[in-house]
Symmetry: C2
Subunit: 227 residues, 2 copies
DNA sequence: CGAATAACTTAACCTTGGTTAAGTATAGAC
DNA sequence: GTCTATACTTAACCAAGGTTAAGTTATTCG
């Protein structure tokens, strides 16, 4: 069984991963979205989706969109688990900064063995989240599905950063400069009108960040009790 | 430049690596040897060799055999460096045993970035040899080329294990049981006639190992001076 | 309703890396 | 010197994964 999944090409794994990700953000996943996500032509997606259907990894209907089948979802989650574990490992064990890990993990995720997966998992103490705050699926395919509101939706109060968008290294570097890491408390002080910047306090420092940037930072209202 | 090498498929890298390895053990590298090493048909090698010639990565002449060009050699050594660094890393940092590392390194060697290579190299303190005693090429393609005589060629005296053959995990486990790791001193006590076993002392224990096995353990005469 | 546009599919083609089967070269035996 | 086994090459094919170009569906606009 794990035999079969190992024979899947890296491309197949990437498609399934993209479909999984897109299905979290949209309730209909279209070929066009997959093409954009994967950076390939629509024709390539069309052909691949047909193959994935034949292998029963997805179901597809022009009305319904593309849906992962249970086995397809399992593969996707396995790859996501690899990806996020590797990201965590690269940061913690090899001193990578959080804007460098995605690219490396993108390649490693397809080739590591279960042995490798287990060893880094154990070494890290079974981490639950990657360096950007994304949940790491468990080996049996469970994953914490809460999604948090964006920082851009708050105009006052104290929140705690839960996750940041991880796909633009430059943005990650900037967020790092701002100290906006998962787990960090942020006081939202106010916001300028007409899409203006949001004023926040992070680690005692008052800074302003663009509304657009704030849509990429996901937070949770801070628990009461600590100043 | 590193651009170009990154675009090489994993298969191309594997062929170059095989040709490199074979060129150390034979002064003529034939398509047949490459086919055996890579586990593919002779036809596949024929075709690939033609392509490698077009890309100026090897030269080929039926009389001369296959030879790496300077750029081909550079790619080969880069992959060998990756392979051996990864093996060392897996042992030292992730607790792999030396019989497990080859398989994992075989896949990782093609996908790691220069960043990854540099980080593990630094973390290990710029190791010069992999866990089996094979030399790790430097970044600029230099490699320690001494080859050591096999243990099977000795029938008395004290030697130090330098390197062991790394391709059979079961043999590696057995060698591990015998304590025959690189760096270990061995007293050769004698050998039975007609290809019989060799009697040795390792770490105080007297054991006998088959002649065949002894051809896979490469040693150096021990320096005088320490009992 | 019909036409324009966006989304998708199909077809024809490319490259990489493999296969088997059939043909050619070459070296050694006689 | 020819015969034959071994080594090698070529040809025809396959599958994965991509491309562009040319249809086809569907939706939306007027």
């Amino acid at each position: 069984m794990s035999r079969a999944t190992l024979l899947l090409g890296a491309a197949v794994e990437d498609y399934l991963k993209s479909i999984y990700k897109l299905s979290l953000e949209n309730e209909r996943v279209t070929p066009k979205m997959v093409a954009a996500e994967q950076g390939v032509s629509l024709a390539a997606v069309s052909k691949m989706v047909k193959r994935l259907c034949e292998q029963k990894l997805v179901r597809y209907d022009r009305g319904e969109g593309i849906d992962l089948s249970p086995p397809g979802r399992k593969v996707a989650l396995e790859i996501v688990r690899h990806h996020r574990l590797i990201e965590a490992y690269l940061c913690e064990a090899l001193g990578y900064s959080w804007d460098e890990v995605d690219e490396e993990a993108e390649k490693l995720e397809h080739v590591i063995s279960e042995e490798f997966e287990d060893r880094i998992d154990r070494l890290l103490g079974h981490p639950t989240h990657d360096p950007h705050g994304a949940p790491i699926p468990t080996k049996d395919g469970e994953v914490d599905h809460r999604d948090h509101p964006a920082l851009s939706e708050f105009d006052s109060g104290r929140v705690v950063v839960q996750r940041v968008n991880d796909h633009d290294p430059a943005m990650l570097r900037y967020l790092g400069d701002c100290g906006l890491y998962p787990g960090v408390s942020v006081d939202v002080l106010g916001e300028e009108p007409f899409g203006g910047p949001i004023h926040i306090r992070v680690a005692g420092e008052e800074i302003s960040i663009g509304k657009e940037l704030a849509t990429h930072v996901f937070v949770e209202v801070a628990e009461e009790g600590k100043k």
